[in-house]
């Protein structure tokens, strides 16, 4: 039986990136697309406990079954596994995201929220992102890397509890690929301040990502700046087990 591949994203079922991802992997398995009906950037591992969800059927795309869900990327994975897929998937792919998920963006990323969800359910999971926000972004340079990574993960799996966050540089010939850690970084968190027509203020988040360790050669931001694709192995859980003893000392127990 061909591997069952679940594809989702956070840019919605209409995004160009998810269609390109289907094109890349369609020969490798039976493909189901289950993605949000609307964009859900910055949704991390958010899910929907307090509202109902709907599943909408769409025409097949390039041999793949296509469904949208009126929820977050994590809702898509949960509902796909519970209700939509004919069996447990062998692989979860998320993306291709329109925009970077490098540095600390991995924490906020809905693309990676879906990948972590698959990982926690024991499914090898890879998130793909291109450092270009345009809806018309050109994903063609990513194709050979996606094909190679995906086929290797299908054949060999991934370490238990670990998924991959793959980022591609934009608008360039990709120089190669590096397996690295996410750079320590932060958003400048500027808010633009407005007054509404009644004179009451409102705020809109803006700002940009600051690399706090630009000289560290073992990080994603370093190599993306140099036109390499980067692969960051990421834990689905948050356990800081080596810190149990230091924290016990702080708490006096």
């Amino acid at each position: 039986m061909k591997p069952l591949i679940l594809i989702t994203n956070d840019d919605s079922i209409d995004a160009k990136g998810i269609h390109h991802l289907v094109d890349c992997v369609k020969e490798m398995g039976e493909v189901y697309v289950v993605a949000p009906d609307e964009p859900h950037s910055g949704q991390s591992s958010a899910f929907t406990p307090n509202f109902p969800l709907r599943v909408i059927e769409h025409p097949d795309y390039n041999g793949a079954k296509v469904r949208s869900v009126t929820g977050t990327p994590v809702d898509c994975v949960k509902l796909a596994m519970h209700h939509i897929l004919p069996r447990r998937p062998d692989l979860l792919l998320s993306g291709i995201n329109h925009g970077s998920n490098a540095g600390n963006s991995i924490v906020y990323s809905g693309t990676m929220g879906a990948a972590f969800e698959g990982c926690m359910q024991g499914i090898p999971a890879v998130g793909y992102s291109l450092l270009h926000h345009s809806l018309k972004a050109d994903f063609s340079e990513c194709t050979p890397y996606i094909t190679d990574i995906t086929s290797r993960v299908i054949a060999q799996g991934l370490p238990d509890g670990v998924c991959l966050n793959v980022n591609f540089p934009a608008k360039v010939k990709i120089e190669g690929m590096k397996v690295v850690r996410a750079a320590r970084s932060r958003w400048t968190e500027e808010y633009q301040e407005y007054l509404d027509p009644h004179g009451k203020p409102f705020f809109w988040l803006t700002g940009r990502l600051l690399n706090e360790e630009p000289e560290s050669t073992d990080t994603d931001l370093y190599w993306l700046d140099r036109n390499y694709a980067t692969v960051v192995p990421a834990y689905a859980d948050r356990n800081a087990t080596p810190e149990i003893i230091p924290v016990s000392n702080i708490l006096g127990i």
Copy 2:
């Protein structure tokens, strides 16, 4: 100058738990409450890039300044630091959550999303949760633990990049406190299926948390079952740095 303490949660500005948390720590510093105007359970590190946010001023509570934000817990932390607080906070507290954030719930928790946000901004951060969903939950047993943990974290700080996820058992005398890791666990992810008045299906998430390692004595679920409070040190980042070499081998680079 007294320490500046930022308090937030995911149950909204109206929750009993956040008021109890203010009561516990009001003598330890200058307290600002900045919390969502509506409940945001299960929002993880979600933030709001594509909508405007408002800040609403409320009357002081027990000496604390109180503001609500029309967004997620992470939005509250970002906007508090950018716009609301008079200076950078010395401590971030999140909670007390009405319900468990033990096991893999930490990944989905809005309470902990706020704590991770503070941690990534270099602020010592602690999330507090009680294993009781009722809006009328009795938080009084938690008080001495919260006072003790909070005062120690103010005095000694926390390891870089690490925050604390504290859970309290419900409805019992608390036997003591353990510093442990989050148990490997998963939600059963059942969906209840309905038909709307037009005959079209919709779905509502239900299910319960399964502890996949009930005999592991170094986990939060083990000790919460035995009426201990648990403290889980948690990383804000997701880096699986020890997996860089195994993943490089899988990818053949």
